[in-house]
Amino acid sequence: MSAAEIERQRQLVQAVLGGTAEGPWRAPAGVQGGAARGLLAYRLNAAALAERALAAVFAQLREAMGASEFVAMAWAFWRWRPPRLGDMGEWGADLHEFLASQPEMEPAWLDLSRLEWARHAAERAADASLDADSLLRLGDTEPQLLRLRMRPGLRLLPPNSEGQVLLVWRQGWRARAEPLAADQALLMARLLAGADLQSALDACLAAHPDFDFSAWLHEALLQQQLWRVEPIGEPT
């Protein structure tokens, strides 16, 4: 296909994104069929889709913002960071960054944008049940040769506006979010960064000498956070 066609299609999308419901209407050369009314139809459809897609993920943020402000925000976000994929469920990861760039943004809205995206991602993550056999490695392998892998979708969020560090993960089909104590947060951060178990524990115990790994492990299993224990060097 010619470069001219690539450019012509780009200009049409640019024209759809280019203004408000009132205009402007700068249809690319070669378009026929009533440019203003056609562009309006596509623009209104895109704006409605933007709101619908984000509302499905950021329901609490929508409630906090109010419906009309959320609609305007969704369209502004589309124009700032258009979807890159044809699956709208993948669009919205950058909403926190967008809101953070806005003047006088409510800290609580920033917190919600980050939390709700993490919940959404956890609920879409690949299914993975506990590899129970792999737990035997904790008894027969040195911890510096082991890595603890968390279930897909589990995320540790940066401190929110109230200073809380939230862990988000999927339990069954639903995402959960809980604040972590400082020792748990430090261990989880190290494990998620790929540290071996010994290094992660050393870092944690250096800062929190009373940390109880056995209790932590029990909870991680009970809460469906741990996926498997794997030897260092095993393909992932």
């Binding site: 690539i6 999308v13 759809v16 070669g30 596509y42 044809g86 993975a128």
Partner: protein, 283 residues
């Protein structure tokens, strides 16, 4: 209703699985089930255990001059392998463009030109998809609110060449034909006649599925919003298509202001009646 299906949307997820009404198939938007895991994929697997499934895409953007999205095609292939659908379809449209140095997806069904260049592009992309999926793709005709000057092929001629040379099928959306004609300024009677002529121009044997839906009138345009019962001229064209093409799998699409499941089933029963009155033995 062996030929009839409905679009299965979120408000009816649970009810359909609980009541399991007799349907020939159900259809879902492929992209809504692209997530690697989670409840939605399991839900689709549960539905597949009871119904034949048609995967209808809105995001392959087969007419995009900047190319197909390999990620999208891989997600679709994985989904197809998982749920083994009866049919897989998407649209003759574009959506992917370069904006500010990055590929952006418009997530809409934007119109392609009808000329030799766009035909060659569609042929290449349809072949790419069919090779990857290892099966036939159905390609749907659009309702379009803009067009491109300088088209050298009539739309049915374009689809005839596309199906003949790629081996893909046509997903014939008769509502889209009527909407396009109405937006050309036709009366409903004229629109039905123009849409029927479009159907007559299609090569027999290439249509794999028919879509039926409602449209909405606005002051400026008729919008293909899938938000109401099927309108009279669309039923007229549907009957015409059945007479010409035979009893084909047909779908009631309803995506906006989705009503009670009973309303969709009633629309499907009306479509079944059209099939039955024309082909009493086969229905």
């Amino acid at each position: 209703m062996k030929h009839l299906g409905i679009g299965w949307r979120q408000p009816h997820y649970a009810q359909l699985l609980e009541e399991r009404p007799a349907l020939g198939f159900i259809e879902v938007h492929s992209e809504n089930f692209f997530a690697a895991g989670g409840a939605s994929r399991q839900l689709l697997r549960d539905a597949r255990a009871s119904y034949a499934l048609s995967l209808h895409g809105v995001g392959l953007a087969l007419g995009s001059a900047c190319g197909l999205d390999a990620w999208h095609l891989e997600r679709l292939a994985e989904l197809v392998a998982d749920v083994q659908p009866l049919r897989v379809s998407d649209h003759a449209s574009f959506a992917r463009v370069q904006l500010n140095g990055e590929v952006s997806h418009g997530n809409d069904l934007l119109p392609i030109a009808f000329n030799d260049d766009s035909l060659a592009l569609m042929l290449r992309h349809v072949d790419q998809v069919q090779q990857r999926l290892g099966r036939q793709l159905l390609v749907e005709n659009l309702s379009a609110y803009l067009g491109w000057q300088g088209d050298t092929l009539a739309e049915p001629e374009f689809f005839n060449e596309l199906t003949r040379r790629s081996g893909c099928g046509l997903l014939l959306d008769v509502n889209n034909l009527v909407v396009n004609a109405l937006n050309e300024g036709d009366s409903e009677a004229q629109a039905a006649a123009r849409a029927s002529a479009w159907v007559d121009a299609i090569s027999p044997g290439t249509v794999g599925e028919i879509h039926l839906a409602g449209y909405a009138r606005t002051p400026d345009l008729v919008i293909d919003d899938h938000g109401s019962r099927v309108h009279a001229p669309v039923w007229q064209v549907y009957r015409h298509a059945l007479r010409r093409l035979g009893p084909l799998p047909s779908l009631i699409e309803w995506d906006t202001d989705v009503p009670a499941l009973a309303v969709l089933l009633d629309e499907a029963a009306m479509a079944q009646a059209c099939v039955a009155e024309l082909t009493p033995v086969e229905a």
